[in-house]
């Protein structure tokens, strides 16, 4: 086998970083949708990703549904879980504070994880890649077709969300809740429904992330926590509530991990990403795209 050139190696790190980063970005977008409407950080976000992957395995592999059918079915089912989460865990809380809400979502994530362990057991599951496993070679670097699906779906989610928030009445109503819930309810927006919708949307996006990443990395019941942390980091790095920030944050963290592992030390790669995150926060306390003035009027 011929030796790989440094340029090709760097390109490979970039491709890997962007793919992994896209998954983080999708999780971060999910965080932001809920945060924007409720100011809650939903620590069960990673469980949506896990559920997305495992339910897809059930529909596509176990039941034999075609990809076109199994995909939406999975997203709908996970969306329902997201709505249940709001109705059963978030809405009943009478005196919300940062800590109670964090604890409630952590509790929910423990329950979802436990239930998933019951249904699927502790073993990892595989999903066939959407368009085969024959890698594409590009300037000496190797691209899995599935990488393109992951990045493609991130782009799709971003476009769909920006149309939804800018062009549709419901989307605008949700943005209004995000700006000021009391004022929004004065003009006749049903804030509770908007919160429910935000949980549904972010669960759906989590499911998409899970479905697209499973063919690359397999999926098992306890994968959610690590993804939630990486996604949370991405959302914070970009600035909570900012969608471009979430995407940039995810891609940056993914790339630092990949380049850090390749060029410096793979044992410390996660630490590099977190160090950069801390450094950014110390210089810009509300993240890259976050507005310090806005974050002052937020309750949490």
């Amino acid at each position: 086998m011929e030796k790989i050139t440094l340029a090709s190696q760097l390109l490979q790190y970039l491709i890997t970083g962007l793919t992994v980063g896209s998954v983080y970005a999708m999780v971060a977008v999910g965080f932001n949708i809920i945060y924007n409407v409720t100011e809650i950080i939903n620590f069960a976000q990673g469980e949506f990703v896990m559920l997305g992957g495992l339910i897809m395995v059930f529909f596509h592999v176990a039941m034999g549904l075609s990809l076109i059918l199994a995909f939406p079915a999975t997203v709908i089912l996970v969306t329902l879980v997201g709505m249940l989460l709001d109705r059963l865990a978030i809405r009943p809380i009478r005196q919300p504070s940062v800590l109670t809400l964090i604890i409630a979502t952590i509790a929910a994530s423990i329950i979802i994880k436990g239930a998933a362990m019951f249904i699927w057991g502790k073993d990892p599951y595989d999903l066939p890649a959407f368009s085969g496993r024959n890698p594409i070679t590009f300037l000496g670097a190797v691209i899995q077709p599935q990488y393109l699906w992951v990045i493609g779906f991130l782009v799709f989610v971003v476009i769909a969300l920006s149309i939804f928030f800018d062009r549709t009445i419901i989307g605008k109503a949700m943005s209004a809740c995000a700006d000021n819930a009391d004022a929004a309810s004065l003009v006749g927006i049903n804030v509770k429904q908007m919160i429910l919708l935000s949980f549904a949307l972010s669960a759906g996006i989590g499911a998409v992330a899970g479905i697209t990443m499973t063919p690359i990395s397999l999926m098992e019941y306890d994968r959610g926590v690590m993804l939630a942390i990486k996604g949370f980091g991405a959302a914070i790095l970009g600035g909570l509530g900012s969608f471009p920030g979430a995407i940039l944050g995810g891609l940056i963290i993914g790339s630092i991990e990949s380049f850090g592992a390749g060029l410096i030390s793979s044992g410390y790669k996660d630490a590099f990403a977190l160090l950069v995150l801390m450094a950014v926060l110390f210089f810009k306390p509300s993240g890259i795209f976050g507005d310090i003035e806005i974050s002052k009027i937020k309750r949490f």
Partner: protein
């Protein structure tokens, strides 16, 4: 409301009735043996088959009339791979449940955490974890008095792999390992033994136990152009790393896995990428491949058949460690009864030529592991199944 109340009462009644009619078989008494495995949590792939194996064995023994007419009572606690919890569980087994011996824990870390407990309470403990440190007191250079273990050490796995590489004339190797206890201790032995076998380590990469992609690490390795890659991990990452290896077009570099690869499920999950992979495995993983004259043929075939029939899932190598540990204790119990000191002495002096799932054990004063590197067979994945490598 009333319906709920009725159902609660009914449950309680059933429970009480269940307690009353349970002791069906008449035994002379009970022998209590304790076990601690990481049944749930991040290392459940170790503890889960161990618990299932131990429960199956205990049931078989009791159905066959127990040990010299005594019932074998197995008390299993879940450590969740947590050192604190494991330490508490072993103390509880010894002081409250009054067991005569403990099998487990599943991990090297948790074993080290309970080692002082077994020593202090003078209770025999047979660990199911890999590290040689468990049976090697660095201060005295001898094993700890009350602690034994059944799994092959990482040293033996490394020796098996290095011997194989040496035979093929490959000496420029890349190491890639997971940052868990299993990976770190394997990596340590790979580095320590490299000079002995003339191995030159050109890359030493790591990844986390929940990582989604190892392409970056493998790309770096590709740049170093090693003659072979040795991966040391367990769980889903050892499958992901294989797929990345194939996807990067590195299939021409021979790939060695650790003995942690010992489950057929891994071959399935690799979706074809496992073809041609080499790894050292204990006999119980490849019972069907052993020649009829092999000393372990019968025990491994029986275990593998029983396990599949009972749990309907493929055997993993880890359950075999629990099988070995429990059977040794049972053998000791049937010979010397449930006196802790006598069990310990029996294990040290009388476990000779014990035919287990992972090898033929010979315990002695200076060896509380009892295996040699022959306990590993080099195996290659061929047509989606194991085959003996030459």
């Amino acid at each position: 409301m009333t319906l709920r109340r009725i159902s609660i009462i009914a449950t309680i009644c059933l429970f009480v009735v269940g307690l009353l009619i349970n002791p069906a078989q008449a035994f002379k008494g009970t022998y209590k043996v304790g076990a601690v495995f990481s049944v749930t949590g991040r290392t459940s792939f170790l503890g889960d088959p161990e618990k299932k194996t131990a429960e199956m064995l205990a049931e078989q023994i009791n159905n066959a009339g127990g040990i010299n007419g005594h019932k074998l009572e197995l008390i299993i606690y879940d450590s969740e791979g947590d050192a604190t919890k494991c330490n508490l569980a072993v103390k509880k087994l010894i002081t409250k449940d009054k067991v005569c011996a403990v099998i487990g824990p599943s991990l090297s870390g948790t074993s080290m955490a309970v080692l002082p407990v077994a020593e202090k309470n003078k209770t025999p403990l047979i660990s199911c974890a890999a590290s040689y440190k468990i049976v090697h007191n660095e201060k005295t250079g001898k094993p700890y008095k009350w602690v034994f273990k059944t799994p092959q050490t990482d040293t033996m796995a490394v020796e098996a792999i290095y011997s194989h590489l040496f035979k093929r004339g490959l000496n420029k190797i890349a190491i890639i390992s997971v940052t868990s206890g299993f990976g770190a201790s394997g990596r340590g032995e790979l580095i320590r033994l490299a000079p002995t076998y003339g191995m030159i380590i050109v890359a030493d990469e790591k990844y986390g136990p929940k990582d989604t992609d190892m392409t970056a690490q493998l790309t770096k390795i590709k740049g170093k152009a090693p003659a072979a890659i040795v991966n040391w991990s367990v769980g889903p990452t050892q499958v992901t790393v294989l797929r990345n290896w194939r996807d990067l077009g590195m299939s021409s570099i021979p790939f060695y896995q650790s003995h942690g690869f010992g489950s057929r499920k891994n071959i399935e999950l690799a979706a074809g990428a496992a073809e041609g992979i080499l790894c050292p495995l204990g006999s119980c993983n490849i019972a069907g491949l052993l020649s009829a004259s092999h000393p372990q043929k019968d025990v491994t075939m029986k275990y593998s058949k029983d396990y599949k029939a009972r749990y309907n899932e493929p055997l993993s190598s880890f359950g075999g460690h629990a099988w070995d540990a429990l059977q040794m204790v049972v053998q000791a119990l049937s010979n010397v009864g449930d006196d802790k000191a006598k069990i310990r002495d029996y294990l040290e002096n009388n476990i000779k030529g014990f035919v287990g799932q992972h090898g033929v054990f010979n315990y002695s004063l200076n060896d509380h592991n009892g295996l040699t590197k022959d306990a590993f067979n080099m195996v290659i994945v061929k047509d989606g199944d194991w085959a003996l490598a030459d």
